[in-house]
């Protein structure tokens, strides 16, 4: 893999051909990543491989753990000391990390976790999929919490979201998941890396550094009394309200006059764009909204668009998960259709175009506004 060596040696800001996994790894390092703990799993392994060299060369912490369970708990420990820390995995590995993710949420620690999603359930396969939407947005671990979830649709966006992920994690003292699918992790395209940032040696006022000349600090997720626990739960919920208010992100196209709004994220969103362009060429008034944050979901904008759109078509690489969030966002104002492929099969633009034409026809025949 000659590209591994190019990255990091070439410090110029020009665009270079980068594989998604390596781009995320290098972007994290340049964003001041202090420690990385991980375990090999396809299709994210290049991320770990890249950091195994680069982190050590930069005198930073890299450790290949004995399992994803151990990796996430190493992340938990490093985050407790206030270090900028990250792990990465793919679907089955994320399942194993969920225990630690819950403890991290319960301890309000800023960490970044990359999930390069593959086909499932079970061992599934190593093809690109989006079957972990519910897992990352709804059930990233036991208990009442949601991580912030960023969904890149290109290598450039994967880089930008990696930098953003650390900023958001530290701003809110909250977990951020980068939900990339195997396609984003594996494909190569030209992209620009950020400038190298040194490690931030300043530690926040909650970090464990040793009780030297100050009172002791404790990082824990235990709240024994119901009242204390509920107060803490409420604190998380209040933060999530703030996050929902400030951090909904999306990209949109042709939404000024669309009759049908197509919604998709990550790779599915990117292919949907080609289908939407093709539909426009055929004279169909079709628009696209691509959520960039899966949590908080951009429901404010979708709800707004539902006011002057006749219907929605949701495209995903799963059996239909985000479609539930779209239904919640539109609140029954307009019909919501779904087109999905499973098994790690990436839909072709023509398939989506066909689904657009079908949905469009039904809308314009039956429910003209």
């Amino acid at each position: 893999m000659p590209v591994d060596k190019d990255v990091g040696v070439n410090d110029t800001m020009a665009k270079q051909m980068l594989k998604g996994n390596i781009a995320i790894a290098e972007a994290a390092l340049r964003a001041g990543l202090e420690a990385y703990f991980g375990y090999p799993i396809t299709p994210q392994t290049e991320l770990l491989e890249h950091l195994s060299k680069r982190m050590v060369d930069e005198g930073r912490v890299f450790l290949q753990a004995e399992s994803e369970v151990a990796a996430i708990n190493m992340v938990y420990g490093a985050a407790s000391t206030g270090a900028r820390v990250m792990t990465s995995s793919s679907s089955p590995g994320i399942s194993l990390m969920q225990e630690g993710m819950s403890y991290i949420a319960g301890s309000e620690l800023p960490v970044v976790i990359v999930d390069v999603m593959r086909g499932g359930p079970g061992l599934g396969n190593i093809l690109p999929a989006q079957g972990d939407y519910f897992q990352v947005t709804r059930s990233a671990g036991h208990g009442d919490f949601h991580p912030i979830v960023l969904a890149p649709a290109s290598v450039q966006e994967a880089i930008d979201f990696t930098v953003l992920a650390f900023d958001l994690a530290e701003k809110y003292r909250h977990m951020v998941i980068i939900a990339a699918d195997g396609q984003i992790g594996q494909m190569m395209e030209p992209a620009e890396l950020p400038e190298m940032k040194p490690i931030n040696k300043v530690r926040p006022d909650w970090a464990l550094t040793g009780a030297n000349g100050r009172g002791k600090r404790i990082i824990t997720s235990i709240y024994l009394s119901g009242e204390e626990m509920e107060t803490f739960n409420q604190k998380i919920q209040d933060r999530l309200v703030e996050i929902k208010l400030n951090e909904q992100r999306w990209a949109e196209l042709y939404t000024d006059d669309c009759v049908l709004l197509v919604i998709g994220y990550g790779t599915a969103g990117r292919i949907a764009r080609s289908a939407v362009e093709a539909a426009r060429e055929k004279g169909l008034k079709v628009g696209l909204l691509r959520p960039q944050t899966l949590y908080p979901f951009p429901d404010d904008r979708i709800s707004e668009l539902a006011d002057y759109t006749e219907g929605c078509l949701v495209v995903e690489m799963n059996a239909g998960q985000m479609v539930d969030d779209v239904r919640l966002a539109v609140g029954g104002q307009i019909p919501v259709s779904f087109y999905g492929r499973m098994g790690g099969i990436v839909p072709l633009p023509d398939e989506i175009l066909e689904a657009i034409e079908d949905t469009y026809e039904k809308l314009t025949i039956h429910t003209p506004k």
């Binding site: 420690a35 912490v61 004995e66 369970v69 151990a70 938990y76 420990g77 225990e99 464990l208 040793g210």
Partner: protein, 258 residues
Amino acid sequence: MTIQAPEGMELIYSRPESLAEMHTHYCPGCTHGIAHRLLGEALDELGMRERTILVAPVGCSVFAYNYFDTDACEAAHGRAPAMATGVKRTRPDNIVVTYQGDGDLAAIGTAEIIHAAARGEQITTIFINNAIYGMTGGQMAPTTLPGQKTRSSPDGRDVEIAGFPIRMSEVLATLPGAAYIVRRSMHDVKNIRKAKKAIITALKVQEAGLGFSMVELLSSCPTNWGIQPNEALQWIEEHMVPYYPLEDYKVIEAVKNL
């Protein structure tokens, strides 16, 4: 509150500075209190309190982080060695100690402790072996002796069904990354003194960067064993020590020169 000696008298016993001034939740007769004190005294004597980060487990000692006057965090069940690894790797100049029971270390956390030891992780583990799950009310532990009655082995541990108890010190001593692995007991004064010496050595091993160090402490659980505290200490000597010998299982050459 600082304890002061009356005029003309010398203060010979007080709370170690490394222990916080508060009551513990431990049952009467439980040896966790002794183990806490030994670790507290050791940290005091080595002047390590202000550099120490304690990693507490899940089990009876889940609130250990409250009882030590050091920075501390609370790990998930069995994961203390992994969490401690994350702490130590980002804070190499701190002293990182995990305090774990037998359910935590020898059952759910076997992978984490074995790999921490194998890596020669520069941490110190205090391993409390009382042959039972205390916090959940006395179920069979990986260290429960053959024939020992617990809430989940009511007719006594049947090795045909539940297999044999694990001797963790012996297991970990086989790993090259382990620098100092010993088993001690807290059933009488002589052994308690030996236990403290071992804890001091283990912490010095970490300070010197020699590798992974662990002190296993045979401990009593009168509440869940269903016997009196004094009988429980006797039970350690009569039943546990024969199965879990009080030996030095791994002491690398460099430790002897400390």
